[in-house]
Amino acid sequence: MDVILSEAAPRTDLDLAIRVERVSHAFQTPAGTPVLALDDVSFDVPRGQFLALVGASGCGKTTILNMAAGLVQPVAGTVVVNGARVTRPSRRTGYMFARDGLLPWRSARRNIEVGLELRGVPVSERRATGSRLLDLVGLKAFGSSYPWQLSQGMRQRVALARTLAIDPDTLLMDEPFAALDAQTKLMLQTEFLRIWERDRKTVLFVTHDLAEAVALADRVIVLTCRPGRIQADIAIDLPRPRDPERIRFDHHYLRLSERVWQALKAGEAAS
């Protein structure tokens, strides 16, 4: 899908995948005083955009994803996904975590197919999708392996395939590659980018890894901490297709990384 991201073009609601509008959120602490996690956060994500959210630990990134996923309701403000206010998990949204969350009693294939099973997709169709995705994430030979028989990188690939299997319009990803070693991480980033660049789904991607954010995303939002506010909103105008491995030596990439890093520093200093 091609979306033209010009400021001049008036955006209709159809172009918008996610709208976070004046969202504030507080959590009750055991001590009794509520802690303000998010303070008046607003941003829009056009359809097909790959948006990365970065910010120090505990500044509300996961909370934003949980809201978009319908797992948490904001205390104030609204989160709209695909034109509808989110009140409960939607079957059109995929959510992936840092921990794989694979069901230990299911083989890799049956884990990949679980989302389809929940949607009542017939077995033959499920098998076909399962095979296609096993192939896509390079685990063709491991379909009948159980999670304990797979390495961490392989398990995370199964989790990625499981998220992609339901063919979501919107992908929410919470540090999906954080638990991996540097090499496996790079490999999965490359693989994921290759898959993503084919059908360009809307992605909301949380990460602590600035290099990852700049290498993958179209745009990076930097959050400040306690309360979470938007510190900077930086467009990453690097050409696609990108190779996360090679882009690290690109001049423009380095300049953008520097900007993101400065914004993060400024955000930490402010709070």
């Binding site: 797992l71 975590f97 969350g101 009693w105 929940l118």
Partner: protein, 282 residues
């Protein structure tokens, strides 16, 4: 899963892997053989020593009987077929009590986990019933359900039910929250969450309960039969004891031990089949 060698190097690695696997298996077989040999020796020594000390008059066969007398008793019981009806009754009571108790316990655990209100209301009652020594209820069960098989089944149910209920609840409660969250994010309804995550996740704990429960079912039935019954191995034990026949008591106990082993083995096998996914993972 098939792994094929792509290069000569790969081939060597796979060869080595196959060889070390074969080595490991051979070593394990040798060890198993030794373990069984040692067990046979321990058993032989025990039985032989018992037989011998009675033969030389060191201990009184009136109280302790003798292996040869027990064997003679069992051979006689089997030859005239008089033991089989009792075995059948005890087995039937145990299996029915176990099945009803386990089914009810698992169902109760599930319902209590699904409906916290039910759990809160039932908690004090179930706690009292559970801490009560159930065997003390045996006389009441005999009054309510008669001297026949019903009262033994009821006693078994009263023990097995709680074991399975508590284990099922523990299994559901100990479930990884991450799994529930992931499945919810994948679009699972409450119902699907229950059938596809909570219940399968509780299966290992439920089997822990079943292994314990089958032993307790047999225990309850035998105690019930010893208190008052027309038939059953427990009744035989009480009968032989009353007529001071030690070989009768011990022989019947031996039969009960075999039954217990068989039941336990059945549960363990079922567990192995159902929990195949675990492999030999730690």
């Amino acid at each position: 899963m098939t792994i094929t060698a792509r290069t000569a190097d790969d081939g060597r690695v796979l060869d080595t892997l196959a060889r070390s696997e074969a080595d490991r298996r051979a070593r394990r077989r040798r060890r198993t053989a030794w373990v069984w040999a040692a067990r046979a020796i321990v058993l032989g020594l025990f039985v032989g020593l018992w037989q011998w000390t009675v033969d030389i008059g060191a201990i009184d066969p009136f109280f302790f009987s003798q292996p040869s007398a027990i064997a003679g008793f069992l051979v006689e019981e089997v030859r005239d077929g008089s033991i089989w009806p009792h075995v059948l009754v005890t087995l039937r009571e145990t299996l029915v009590g176990f099945a009803v108790g386990a089914g009810g316990g698992v169902a109760a655990g599930i319902v209590r986990m699904q409906f916290p209100f039910v759990a809160d209301v039932s908690n004090p009652f179930l706690t009292i019933l559970n801490v009560l020594p159930r065997v003390a209820l045996a006389p009441m069960f005999i009054i309510w359900f008669g001297v026949g098989e019903g009262s033994k089944v009821a006693l078994a149910v009263s023990l097995v039910f709680f074991i399975l209920m508590l284990n099922t609840e523990a299994g559901i409660r100990s479930l990884d929250r991450e799994l529930v969250l992931t499945m919810r994010a994948l679009g699972a309804t409450d119902r699907q969450l229950f059938w596809k995550v909570m219940l399968p996740g509780a299966v290992p704990a439920i089997f822990g309960g079943l292994r314990l429960g089958v032993v307790y079912a047999l225990l309850a039935v035998v105690v019930g039969e010893m208190i008052s019954a027309h038939m059953g191995l427990g009744q035989r034990i009480a009968f032989h004891a009353a007529s001071f026949r030690a070989e009768g008591v011990l022989g019947t106990i031996l039969v009960l031990a075999v039954i217990g082993l068989g039941l336990n083995l059945a549960v363990v096998r079922a567990e192995q089949v159902l929990l195949r996914w675990r492999g030999d993972a730690p």
